[in-house]
């Protein structure tokens, strides 16, 4: 059997490669970066919502299945340069440090994931200009290292705000979809802050809270047990206040129907999810149709979310839309099974 090619070393790709290996299929795992683990590793995610479990407890077992596995050929710092369909599977060209290598593979799993929205594009929030306006990437590292301090002066904040839906549900930036994670991750971050630093006030500004299913529990607990405050309405702009030492958040409290202006020491933007650069490249290389959002579209997403509709090509994880880590892992397993069946038959 020719090997199965897995594109992407995040939760979905790791899950797929690990399952393929345990099914006995030779596997090539290609990762653009020089390390495995995808966005959770890249941005040092701290605890995972909703159970507040350290990210390592989820990622380490996935990584453990890959490292040193003789059935998995690990190709870091490598990208896909070309892919042609052959009678069964694909002839692919891998690019690594400028060198090209041609390989025959029996099937391909696309697990190229998402990128965080570049918060600079919502320019009214001053991200990238005001050091104390952070987004998910920076705050997760801070929480991971237990060092919640204002980047501007290194002092602990007294009052923090989270702004949901930055780069999500917004046609002004061309992203009308919901990222699904922003609510629960922001609430989780606020809880993490309040748990360790009860002296810091935490406010969440929201349009809707979408802690769907059992995640609702964390939303309730965040108020009941951790005293996180919720304001319905969006912050429309952030300016400097108090001689430039604090941030002034201006918005509308849409329940009271009044404009609001509140000074904060740190403001966190819940940066949304977009199809990653790799996802877009793969769509072009395989000539795949993408939805209006730019994510890959399974043939019948209700019936089988991992089937691309193209023989020998399967999807897993956030390449097909915003997804939580457990869902990405599940899809990795599903895609591994389908790719194995295709390669074997």
């Amino acid at each position: 059997m020719n090997p199965v090619l897995v594109l992407g070393g995040g939760p979905a790709g790791l899950s797929a490669a690990g399952e393929l290996a345990s099914l006995g299929a030779p596997t090539i795992l290609v990762e653009r970066e020089g390390y495995l683990g995808g966005n959770p590793k890249r941005w040092h995610y701290s605890l995972l919502a909703p159970d507040l479990r350290p990210t390592e407890e989820v990622m380490d077992p996935l990584l453990g299945k890959i490292e040193g596995n003789s059935r998995i050929e690990l190709r870091l710092s490598t990208t896909l340069a070309k892919a042609e369909p052959v009678e069964k599977g694909y002839r692919v060209t891998l690019r690594s440090a400028g060198a090209l290598e041609e390989r025959d593979v029996s099937s391909v799993i696309v697990a190229t994931g998402f990128d965080h929205f570049d918060s600079r594009r919502k320019f009214e929030y001053g991200y990238g200009r005001y050091p104390d306006v952070l987004d998910f990437k920076e705050i997760e590292i801070m929480l991971h290292e237990d060092r919640v301090l204002r980047p501007s002066d290194g002092k602990p904040p007294k009052r923090m705000a989270w702004i949901l839906c930055v780069g999500s549900r917004d046609v002004q930036v061309g992203n009308p979809w919901c990222c699904r994670m922003g609510c629960v991750v922001s609430i989780k971050q606020a809880v993490e802050v309040r748990r360790k630093h009860p002296e810091i006030d935490a406010y969440v500004y929201y349009m809707d809270i979408r802690t769907y299913g059992l995640w609702e529990d964390l939303y309730w607990k965040s108020m009941q047990e951790y005293g996180v405050k919720f304001v319905r309405g969006r912050i429309g702009q952030i300016t400097l206040a108090e001689g430039g030492s604090r941030l002034m958040a201006t918005g509308e409290d849409t329940i009271l129907s009044r404009p609001t202006e509140v000074p904060f020491d740190m403001i966190i933007l819940a940066s949304g999810m977009e199809p990653s650069a790799g996802t877009k490249e793969v769509a072009t290389l395989f000539g795949l149709s993408v939805g209006p959002e730019g994510f890959l579209t399974p043939r019948i997403s209700d019936l089988n979310p991992v089937d691309s509709g193209v023989p020998g090509l399967f999807f897993a994880g956030a390449a097909t839309g915003p997804k939580a880590i457990p869902d990405a892992i599940t899809e990795g397993m599903g895609a591994a099974l389908r790719a194995f069946q295709y390669a074997r038959d």
Binding site: F123, G126, Q172, G233, G236, Q237, I238
Partner: protein
Amino acid sequence: MSVVAHLPRRAQSLTEEEAESPPAMELTGRHRMSEDERTVAATIFDEFHADPRYREFVLGCLNCGECTTGCPAARFYDFSPREMLQIAATGDATTLWDALQEKIWACCQCYTCNMRCRFGNDIAGIISVMRELSVIHGLESTRRTLAPFGRSLTLLMTVGTQVSSDMIQPDFFRDWGPFATGSDQVWQVTPEVMRKAIPLDVLQTTRSSWEVSVQTSLELFRIYEETGVLDMLRGLDPDLTEMLVDIVEERREEFAEARERFSSELAGQRGPVATFTG
């Protein structure tokens, strides 16, 4: 005990006519509408929803309030673009009617709400549709609200107004956000941002932008005549409209004379040339 006894005392004492009117009016303390007003309100409501712009401008609303955040009027009046959009979407003719009485005139038509709206609604646009309707139907409240603006209106309709680019100071445009105004209050609008806000041809005519050619202002007035704007205004304020017509008629005559003079001067110059070449 009878059912009636459970009702609030007020309900028992309602007359038949009072009982027919919606209770919301009692609760919110709105003034009781006359039969005529109710008819006009229903007509306006129907026309509003039949307007082809309605479906294009009113898409939906997440009630996020970002429109209100940037709204200059919301800072000073009991006004919010979010509320206006909700009113535009309401199925209740009386709610629309109430908004037409005064609120719609608080909007300064700066279109910041449109720029902010993540749903892509044209809020400032739908407000101007509401204004149109209140003018077309010559509402007494509209007449009262607009009375102090006769001078501005006269200037606007006989000359037209323009913005010159030296009026664009960052302090006036805080809604452009920190990248425009800057923490250090230094002018930091990039050409890209500026072009988004101000038409390029306006930027290029700093000096001449206050000079309006007579021909342009006459053409503008012609547009008001042809598109029915003048008729709208006539219904609301016939005296002002007649004054505007007088002013413009006088200008037209002056312009016609000037053109005559100019073309005969030109002909006088051309005369010998024509002879020479002929």
